[in-house]
Symmetry: C2
Subunit: 536 residues, 2 copies
Amino acid sequence: MEFAELIKTAKVENVQLSCPGLPPIKGTLCITSHHLLLSSQPGGQEEQGTVELWLLIRNVDAVEKSVQNLGWYQTSRTNSSHQETRIASSLGTITLKCKDLKVLQLEIPGMEECLNIASSTETPKHEAQGWMAALPPPTLLPTNRLRATVDDNVLKKAARFRQGGRFPVLSYYHKKNGTVMLRSSQPLIGPNRKRCQEDELLLSAVLDGGERGFIIDTRSAQAAKQARVMGGGTEPKSSYPHWKRLHRPLERGRPLQESFIKLVEACNDTSLSMDRWLSKLESSKWLAHVKGALSTACLAAQCMEREEACVLVHGAEGTDTTLLVTALAQVILDPDCRTLTGFQGLLEREWIEAGHPFHFRCAHSAYSHTRLKQEAPIFLLFLDCVWQLGRQFPFSLQFNERLLLVLFEHTYASCYGTFLCNSEKERCLCEVKEKTHSLWSWLNQPSELKKLLNPLYTYNALVIWPSVEPQSLQLWQGLFLRWIRSSQYLDEAWAEIQRLVTNCEDAPEEGAGRTLCHSQPDAAYPLTITGTANKG
Amino acid sequence: MEFAELIKTAKVENVQLSCPGLPPIKGTLCITSHHLLLSSQPGGQEEQGTVELWLLIRNVDAVEKSVQNLGWYQTSRTNSSHQETRIASSLGTITLKCKDLKVLQLEIPGMEECLNIASSTETPKHEAQGWMAALPPPTLLPTNRLRATVDDNVLKKAARFRQGGRFPVLSYYHKKNGTVMLRSSQPLIGPNRKRCQEDELLLSAVLDGGERGFIIDTRSAQAAKQARVMGGGTEPKSSYPHWKRLHRPLERGRPLQESFIKLVEACNDTSLSMDRWLSKLESSKWLAHVKGALSTACLAAQCMEREEACVLVHGAEGTDTTLLVTALAQVILDPDCRTLTGFQGLLEREWIEAGHPFHFRCAHSAYSHTRLKQEAPIFLLFLDCVWQLGRQFPFSLQFNERLLLVLFEHTYASCYGTFLCNSEKERCLCEVKEKTHSLWSWLNQPSELKKLLNPLYTYNALVIWPSVEPQSLQLWQGLFLRWIRSSQYLDEAWAEIQRLVTNCEDAPEEGAGRTLCHSQPDAAYPLTITGTANKG
C-alpha cells in the first residue's frame, strides 16, 4: 500500500500551530505523502507575513493526541417544531515530537480530522524495507602496506576470523611519522581460543620489525573476555606479541540510547530546580559518554603522534564505537579533516562507507514510544565531541555548529540519500546513488556553504589536544536546548562576526596578525585506500 | 611594626616557580613590602625571554609550606684529617593560593629562606585597621519625590526605624514609566511589633494615590518573622496597606562563602569523573545562587516594567543581597548601565556608595584556612550574574568578560583604593580618595579601555530579560577555571573579533545591518539623587 492511500484527510482549515518560543500561527494544514504543510492565513495574523511550516513526516518521532469536547452547537431550528439539530463540536490536539527534538502542537477542529491527521503522521515509513535481502559478498580493500606482503588468500582467511568479515583495514595514515590507524571488528576467538595465522600475519605485517603497536579495544577487559562465549573475543598477547592491548570501555546500544532519552527529558523539563537539573544531567550520563569518547580518541591519537606507534581500534562489530574513536582521532590529528571538504570526506569514509548502520541507529530519536532494539545515538555523540573540539579550538574547524546540527537532522530524517541504509552494500542494492540526491551536493552550493563556515577559521597545522577534564566539557546547548529557548542572539552574534569577516576580507591588516600557526596546508596527501567490509 | 621589618629574607636565588599549564621558571625571588617578585635568570631558559612575576602580597589567600631534606653534602675535606664538614641541603616548597584563585608553587633552596619567605607572605596586612572608630553620622540624601512631601525631621525619625539608619532611598528611576526602585534595610519592628509613622509616611509618599508598590524581601517569610526576636522584622500589611510584600530568599554570609569554597575545590580537582564533578557542582549550590539572584532581579524589573509599580528591596542590613538585586535589575532594565561608563557608575552607586562592606566580605577568598565570619562572595555572585547576561545577550553589554575578571581581582586584592573599606564613611575617615588612586582612572586609560570592550556591542534600548531556567545558566569557566586550564584560544578568538571590528569600523557596510534595535541612546537622564546611609 502506498503511503498516499493512507491519507484520509488531506487538508484542514483553521489549524493552530504552537511551538515553544514563537507566537501561535493559525492556518491551513495539508498532508502529502512526504510532508505536513501548514501555511498561515494571509491577513489573519496581525503584523505577520504568511508563515509556512514544512515538516518531513519522516521527522516525526512520536505522536500524541487528545480530543476535547467543546459542547454542542445548534445548527438549525425549524419554525414548525422545537426540535433542534445539534452537532458535537470538538477540538483535537496533536503533539508532534520530532526526531530533531522539536515539539509542535497542532490544534485541529473536528475529531475525525484530528484522528486522521494523527494516523497519517503515525504511519511507519518503510522506505528501507526489503533492503536487507541477498547482499553481495564484502569488498576487500587492503592497504598498500599490507598488499605488499599479504596476498588475497590470506586476506580472505583473515576476514573469516573477524566478525562480519571486518578484517583490519587502514583508517588513517599519519603522514608526519608514517604510522597508521587500522580498524576492524573483534577476532572470532571463541570459547576454544581459536587462532588464525592469517590474521596474526596481517597484523604483524603492519609493524616494521621491532615496532610495537597498540590495540585499543572499546570494551572492558571483562566484556572482551566474556565475548568468547558467543564466539568473539580479543587478541591474546601470546598470539600477537608485538601488540599491546588497552581496554577503554565506551557505551553503545541501549544504554547510550537511554542516556540520550534521559538527557532530552531533563532538557525539556524547564520547571526543574538547579539542583534537580544538575542531578538529572549527571544521571543521564551523556557528558560522561562525551568524555569517554574524547579521551579514547586522544589515546589513539597519542599512540600515533607521541609514541609513534601503529594503532588498531575495535570493539565488537567494528561499526559503532570503533568509528567514533577512529573518526574523532582524525579530527584531532589532521588539519585536513577540519576543513569543510575534509570533514565531509571523513564522514563518507569513516561513517558511511565504514558501515555505520544509520538506518538502524537513527530509526527513532529521543521521543519515540515504540523502541526498537538497534537505536543508539553514536553518531550524535560523535557530533557532540566535534562540537566540544570546536568550542575549545575556536579557530581550528572550518565549519560551524550549524553544519553539525544539519548533520544531526539529516541522519534522523532526510530528503537526501546520504544517510540511508545500514551499509554500502545496502545502498548499492537499493541504488541509493541513482535514486536519491546527495546531501553534500546541496550543502556545497555556495548559498548554503557560506552558512556553514566558521568566520574565525585559520588553518592550524597542529594537533588539537582537547582538555577532557569534566570541568572543560559542556552541554551542547545549541542542540539539546535548540527548541526550548531561543538562540536568536547567539546566532545573530555569529552572523555579525561573519559579516565583519566578509567585509574585512580585502581590508589591509593592522597591527599583529593571528597568533596561531599560519602555515598553508601541505598538498593533500592520499587517503585513498580505505576499507569497507560489511557483511550486513 | 612596619611590614618591611618583617621581611627577614628579601632575596633568594635559584627559586623555581611552577604554575599549572606553564613550564616552570627558575629565577631570583625578591620580597618587598607589597610585592613578591620573581624574575627568570637571563639566558637560563632555553627559547624563553626574561619572565617576571609580580604578585601583590595582599593577593595571597593561603600559604602552605613543606621542607624536604635532600641529604648532606660535603663542603671541605682537609688533607690532614678525614673529618668532613657536612651541611644539610634542603628544598622548601611554598604553595601560594591566591585570592584571584591562582595557585603558584615556589621551590626554594634552603630551609631558613623557605620559612622566612613563607612567614613574610603569611603576615596579615592590616592596611584597614583602626578605620572603624568614631564614624561621623550618616549623610541623608532623600529623593526629590520624597523631599516634596517629607521633611528632614520625618527622615531622621524614619532612619531610626531602619537597621543602621538605612531608610528607603532611591536606587533607580525608571524613566520610561516614572516608577522608582528603592532600597533600605529592614524595619526595626521588634518583638512588640513597633510601628513608625514617619517610615509609613515615607513609603506612602513614594506612591501616588491608589498606586500599589511591591516590597521584595530577600529573606524567607519565616526568616523575616524570626528577625523580630533580634529587633528587626518586615513591613506588616496592616501598617503598609499599599505595599504588597514578596519574599525571595537569597543566600548570603557563611553559606554563600561555603558555596564558593566548595565550587573552587571541585573546579581544582581535575581527577574527578564526570559524575563526581556534576555532583560536586550541584552540591556547591553556586549555580542555584546565580539562578536565585537573577530570578529575583527579574522580579524587581518586572514589577517596574510590566506592572508599572514602585519597588522597595531589602533584606536585613540592606548592604548585601539588597544591592545584588537592585544592581542586577538596573543592568536588565537600563541600557545606560550596560555601557562601560554606566556600569562603573552603577558599581560606584549601588555597591561602593551604598555601603557594601567590601573589606569584610572580601578579606579572604576560597583558599584561606583562617576563616573570619564576615566573608561572603556577594559581589562575585553579582559579577557572575552579569556574565550570564552577557552570554545570553552577546550584543548588549559594552564591556567584556575581562572587565568582570579585573573587578573580581581588585575587590579581593588591589593596588587601588576603589574597593577599600566597608563604607563611604570609613573611606572619608581614612582619606582613601586623597591617599590612593582610583581603579577607574587606570581602567579608563585608552590603552586599558580597549581591552575591556565587547567588539559585538550595539546599543540595545530594550530590557534584556534573561532566561533563568537552570538549563540556560552555565558555570563561569573564565573565572572558575581560569588558572586550571588555558583559555588562550578563546581569548585569541575574542582578540581576533576585536581586530576585525577595529579594521572594519570605517569600512562601508554590505548587505543587511545588525538586526537588534539600533536606536541611539537618549540623552542621559539624571540618576543623581541616590542614597548612602551607612552607620558603619
